[in-house]
């Protein structure tokens, strides 16, 4: 989806907002929002790709105006409402509706502490052989779809070289729909700055990104 989250190469932004001795959280509420968003994922009604997509669907002006944890707050509320875990009426009232069935949280403090060192690996075994090998030249797709994708706009149509193969990983362009999972071979593709930005590119830099097999076509 071509929205404002796809920021690579967008011009007009000012200096990087560097902050010396930055705290982990700038206010207590940020940690509470992190916790809510993280823990709501344990209902397994959305995955990391759907989570990312929920932020991509924020209106562009709001996306740019919101701080990181404000986006997280909006994302968890929107996903929870979309999946029926909360209702608009409850959001406006600030409390559960009278007909709400009491539930038990899917994870407690010990459970989430035990989960963190495990994580959720994205690598999968698939039967299909990889279509590309390290050293191959590939062109990234020009056309994209309206849903969630991880092919950045600034790399579309550009030619790069495969520098590593990671086996197969869950394919986000399908995974975010929560209608079943497929995996595709995943590669790191290296693009020269000049290939991506043209003659005005800064000298001597390259950009590498992880791209799934169906994003790529052979190139010369």
């Amino acid at each position: 989806m071509d929205s404002v989250h796809d920021l690579g190469g967008v011009e007009g932004f000012g200096p990087i907002p560097i902050e010396a001795d930055e705290p982990v959280f700038h206010a207590a509420w940020e940690g509470r929002v992190l916790g809510c968003r993280f823990l709501m994922g344990f209902w397994r009604l959305w995955n990391i790709d759907a989570n990312r997509h929920s932020l991509e669907q924020l209106p562009p002006a709001e996306y740019l105006a919101m701080s990181y944890y404000e986006k997280w707050a909006a994302g968890v509320v929107n996903l929870s409402a979309e999946k029926g875990l909360i209702t608009p009426e409850e959001l406006q009232a600030g409390h559960p509706g009278t007909d709400a069935e009491p539930r038990t949280p899917p994870v407690d403090a010990a459970g989430v502490r035990a989960f963190l060192p495990q994580g959720r690996p994205a690598a999968r075994e698939i039967d299909a052989a990889p279509g590309f090998a390290v050293g191959d030249k590939v062109r990234a797709a020009r056309n994209m779809h309206a849903g969630h994708t991880r092919l950045p706009r600034y790399l579309r149509g550009r030619v790069g070289t495969i520098i590593s193969h990671h086996g197969a990983h869950v394919f986000p362009d399908i995974s975010y729909k929560m209608e079943g999972e497929v995996a595709q071979h995943l590669y790191t593709v290296n693009f020269s700055g000049r290939e991506v930005w043209g003659d005005d590119a800064e000298p001597g830099h390259s950009i590498s990104a992880e791209l799934w097999e169906s994003y790529l076509a052979p190139a010369r």
Binding site: L34, A73, E82
Partner: protein, 209 residues
Amino acid sequence: MTKKPHHEHTHAHSLLPPDPALRAKAIETLLVEKGLVDPAAIDALVDVFSNEIGPQNGAQVVARSWCDPDYRARLLADATSAIAELGFSGMQGEHMVAVENAADTHNVVVCTLCSCYPWPVLGLPPVWYKSPEYRARVVREPRAVLDEFGVRLPEDVELRVWDSTAEIRYLVIPQRPAGSEAMSEAELAALVTRDSMIGTGFALSPEAG
């Protein structure tokens, strides 16, 4: 083929109070009262990310790689396993790759599409890493961006930008600073800054550390 409308969502978040702290309170209150979230689990996450998971973890990995050539080789060959040797693993670090800086090569990491960051070794990302400014600019004008961090590289140093578009997460191994030859691994770890492991800084020199 039916095409989904782009905005089928009601944007439920617009129903909440505009003030971020009040909004967060409203969300937590509702989720807890509905039995959807355990507030003690929120406390646990805040504690873990405030006190246990942070760049001090990655600094141990880098210091070990400076002292132990065999460890460095394992880190470059399979970073996930090598990092797990030191007890760091899991969420947002399931598939780690380590890239090393050298006299002729400098690496810098970004996530242009969101805010992907290697939590087990670096903790939660700083605001600048998640900012539109950094995400937009570092792929297009990396030298200008690094200059703002005080990282000035000679023209002949090759600059490699890594855009974290999948679940691969990067750890930059900064160059070991001159004058640190006699230091212990623990002393060396104190020289390894968060920014040096993203590529927007150098390791501290022993005099500064």
